[in-house]
Symmetry: C2
Subunit: 328 residues, 2 copies
């Protein structure tokens, strides 16, 4: 029987920093919540999220970031280019960083196509999946079917967040601080030290844009907790048997509400990464999983059940149940 799992992951976070003070001082008035001045808003963000800086990159560097991640992947890890049967670019927008309808002489770099060419991934079927910040997890769901029906041996997912470039703002929905970065994750049909057991998603159009996350925050939490409950129950596991929930780095406070509904202590939620760089779009999934894995034995042990959890505006709540099967 095929038992697909996660076999490799790595990430990069932008290096150029902007302090929260500086970020807030450059915002237009409409981005400042009513009833607060800039100083108060700055203080609230720093106190609640613990984020002191956001990190910004130029989208022109995107190919370079993937180049570095893939070089290390092929150097450190035993995968060969010809084993990669599927290459998924998990991105919130078009597959091209240039404009494919541009004139002759203008730049047009199609990131995933360039990666495929440079690293000779000759067998790789390539496509772009876009479900906002849930793109990586949905790409993993698609990969799962391609591994299970034996049409792929290995699937490589490229994820990136150039939020500051695309939208010229590191503040999402007036309460989430965003940094830029890139990540890669490999799923294999076998020989992994982490099995993917099941996937659940819920979609609901009542939360259709960022501002809804604030005005209807209780609904957001309830639907998310339902996705996690469904995932656990249909696999005949008790919620207390879950060793860790790995969320995205958006808000810390919502997890007090999730934990109340789920009846688990907040110590089971991996929230250590919020304060460092804040939210890095759907790269969060790869970054947090990688950091949990790197802490190794003691933090995460053989047999442990872990849930990867994300929300993509639209809105999709998605959760994957994985199990640590071997020490790497």
């Amino acid at each position: 029987m095929i038992c697909p799992g996660i076999s490799y992951s790595d990430y990069y976070i932008a290096e150029q920093s902007v302090s929260i003070e500086q970020l807030i001082s450059n915002l237009s008035e409409s981005n400042i919540p009513n009833g607060l001045d800039r100083k108060q808003f700055t203080e609230i963000l720093i106190e609640t999220l613990g984020v002191q800086f956001v990190y910004v990159d130029d989208r022109k560097n995107e190919l370079l970031r993937f180049h570095q991640l893939l070089q290390r992947y092929f150097l450190q890890y035993s995968s060969t280019p010809e084993e990669i049967d599927v290459l998924i670019y998990a991105a919130g927008d078009s597959i091209a960083s240039g404009h494919s309808w541009a004139e002759n002489d203008s730049e047009c770099i199609n990131i995933a196509y360039s990666v495929k060419h440079e690293f000779k991934l000759d067998n790789a079927l390539l496509f772009n999946v876009a479900v906002e910040c849930a793109s990586t997890l949905i790409a993993m769901r698609i990969a799962l079917s391609m591994l299970r029906d034996r049409s792929a041996r290995k699937v490589l997912i490229l994820s990136r967040n150039f939020y500051t470039n695309d939208r010229r703002l590191s503040l999402m929905g007036k309460g989430t601080l965003v940094s830029d970065g890139a990540g890669i994750i490999e799923l294999s049909a076998d020989k992994t030290d982490c099995s993917i057991i099941d996937f659940v998603s819920i979609e609901d159009n009542r939360i259709s844009k960022f501002s809804d996350f604030i005005t209807k925050s209780q609904l957001v939490v309830e639907l998310g907790a339902n996705a996690i409950k469904t995932l656990v129950e249909r696999n005949s596991i008790k919620i207390h048997e879950i060793s860790m929930i790995i969320p995205q780095n958006t808000t810390r406070f919502a997890w007090q509400r999730y934990c109340k509904i789920l009846d688990i202590p907040i110590s089971k939620v991996f929230l250590d990464n919020i304060s460092d760089y804040g939210h890095v779009g759907d790269v969060d999934t790869i970054r947090n999983l990688t950091d949990v894995w790197r802490r190794g034995k003691g933090f995460i042990n053989v047999g442990d059940f872990v849930i990867l959890y994300t929300i993509g505006t639209g809105t999709t709540w998605a959760a994957i149940l994985i199990q640590k099967t071997e020490n790497s």
Copy 2:
């Protein structure tokens, strides 16, 4: 054994027409090929493509177009909403027609989420696949794995082209006339009258934007013919056993070159739809397949092998081999 196939398809083409004369007279100078005046360019386009009008729609109507297509689908066809386990939005850009990062009071309609809600597709996993004009065919490839590994009973693909809205131009790469429209296609795990046998794609970053299709047209044709050859050969079929190739409605002349390489008569290529509305993005795949199917017995018979062929800028050449198995 699971033998997935195509079980339903339908499409809509915009109704508001713009004559080619009018279109060309409104273009900026940079869109007119060097050495031609507007009158000459108009004449060349009409003579070579046979397209007299392009048809434009407003993206605000997108939800209405899918509403009409899905109403007819549920009325005419035996599918029930709960059988649809996957809903794929095959689109060249974001899943939202509004801006998900917009302020409180601005409009934001996430098309696929709204369709899922309105038609109570409660079991449907939803995601957006974007590979330019190959999106529909790649979505079919993804659906195939989800049907084969039994994680979906039915997959519904939504495809749309609002080219004139997005890019304010009905002329692509100085030689392809584009209309707006929408299409839906259903794939089922069984009980279809058309089996999907195999899929082949080739990706190459030497053709990275529209203008490359003109400057490197021979390479485009050679790579595409290779994809078709590979598909046929690895299924132990001779190219002469293929009853029909269903391409997109881009260029008629290229098919003389394809046919020379493939050694088949041009009568085997379904080119009847180019003159009507020109190219409707990746809706072409659905439109042309639907039109071939509707012509029925005599035009397409039980046992016939058919190839669906598309190109998505980036560039991906994709081909699916299907076989008519029953008279509907």
